[in-house]
Symmetry: C2
Subunit: 270 residues, 2 copies
DNA sequence: ACCAATTTGTCCGTATGTATG
DNA sequence: TCATACATACGGACAAATTGG
């Protein structure tokens, strides 16, 4: 059994090479991969726009000069990547990879790599602070209304930990969206998908958990309304420190790795 | 041509449904997808560990009771997701999704969604500040040595913008790794893949660009050696503000969307 | 160094179910 | 209702690469 080269790959590819070997082993790309790359390239360059029909499998096979089975293999890869999808009529359409899909993949990868709650906590702290800071500057009345609706729903669901943790996730997702920064929104999502569901655990184990969470959310909303960055960031920090205290009071250790269990519940694979 | 439902999906799925329709349309999952999910589940739950052999296509077909072509389609999807990969012997092995793969896909998605350099800049600011802050606390002599080596290489390559921007990317990737927080490392990577390559442009257009970049990197390294958080964060902020000035002096506008061009050069779809 | 077995990559032909007109 | 077009899946076939004797 040969060890797979699972190169973690940070840093531009400077692969070590034995000096005795002058050339890399030549490898012919598989036909199905060439098909996939050709179609992907059309989308990446914009020649194929999202929503446009790709063509039938048979036609693609004819164009590429390969068998239909080969086309199908390429299609499967593209489908997984989110670059093509099937319409209601089962035909092929070009499509843009959806954020949510990518985020949940990242989350699952983090679970498999056994990241700890501490890593999750520290990263979330940085990302949520940035979100609220930017949101303060650019938040719209519509987003304020959505946040208020979220808080209202949470107030009504104070005794339902499951629902409450869902609403907590949503609240912070809304905040990120309110920041008007999609890069930030995207960056925080994978961690958020693992972090915020723990609110359920905390609400179950810590009596005042739900109350403190709601109190923080209300304060955050008020600070946003007043566009008071200082106040908002203070409350966000307090909110997250609260989470940490609750997590530990629930008998958990920050240095535990995130459980595999989450990987299953995450994103029912399409 | 029907509009594809590209649901952006923030907020827990509360899909609108016409009241007249009592049931969702029933849909049978495709066989190849069941194959893929079955194998993916084995890996997610840990029953199949990374590096373990999956079995031959023919054998899988026999076990699942489907045709080999169907197995192959499922394999293609899993391959794209990073859950299985081919060994040097072309056999199938379970595998963990690699960060770099996921990151570059995120980057490409951001390009396709036409995020702006401003979004990239603001997010990078937050993420790099957090990285350097944590790195200050936990950096190891080994990582300090790697950073020093990077700076040395950059000093030697002062007149080569391409090489210089590669080294800039690497420097910040190393910083993130030095933070000891893989969640943070992962969160910053997609933005980093788009942000730091712009150093090439800046070095070409702004005469003092390379010098200032190196100066900042050296100062960051010194601050890390001294474990001086205050100094380190100050320099990081200065470094990024410098980037912004350089970007604008190069005649670019922060509110431009990131070019499609990048999507092509990004991550040759291995 | 040669050979046999195994396995992948690709291709072909066909049957079936379903959606559209 | 019928006919067409298409995706899904199956079975079989062969060349090339790899492995193991």
């Amino acid at each position: 059994m040969k060890p797979l080269p699972l190169s973690s790959s940070a840093g531009t590819g400077l692969a070590m090479r034995a000096v005795s070997e002058r050339f890399d082993k030549i490898q012919v790309p598989a036909a199905y991969r060439l098909v996939a790359e050709a179609i992907e390239r059309e989308i990446l360059t914009g020649r194929l726009r999202a929503g446009e029909a790709i063509g039938t499998e048979a036609e693609l096979g004819r164009q590429f000069g390969v068998n239909r089975s080969t086309v199908r293999e390429g299609i499967r890869a593209l489908e997984e990547g989110g670059y093509v999808s099937r319409g209601p009529d089962r035909r092929l359409y070009a499509s843009l990879p959806r954020y949510s899909r990518l985020s949940s993949r990242m989350s699952r990868a983090m679970v498999l790599h056994e990241v700890t709650f501490r890593e999750l906590y520290d990263a979330t702290m940085a990302l949520e602070m940035a979100s609220i800071e930017h949101a303060c500057a650019v938040i719209t009345p519509e987003m304020l209304a959505e946040l208020a609706a979220n808080i209202e729903a949470a107030t009504a669901a104070q005794d339902d930990p499951v629902r409450l943790s869902e609403l907590d996730s949503d609240f912070h997702a809304l905040l990120a969206r309110a920041s008007g920064n999609r890069v930030l929104e995207l960056a925080r999502e994978p961690a958020g998908l693992l972090f915020f569901p723990t609110a359920e655990l905390i609400c179950r184990r810590v009596p005042e958990g739900a109350r403190r969470m709601l109190e923080a959310h209300r304060a955050l909303l008020e600070a946003l309304r007043a566009r008071d960055v200082k106040l908002a960031t203070t409350w966000m920090r307090r909110h997250l420190v609260d989470w940490r205290k609750g997590f530990e009071r629930a008998g958990r250790d920050l240095d535990e790795p995130v459980e595999r269990v989450y990987a299953r519940t995450l994103a029912p694979p399409a």
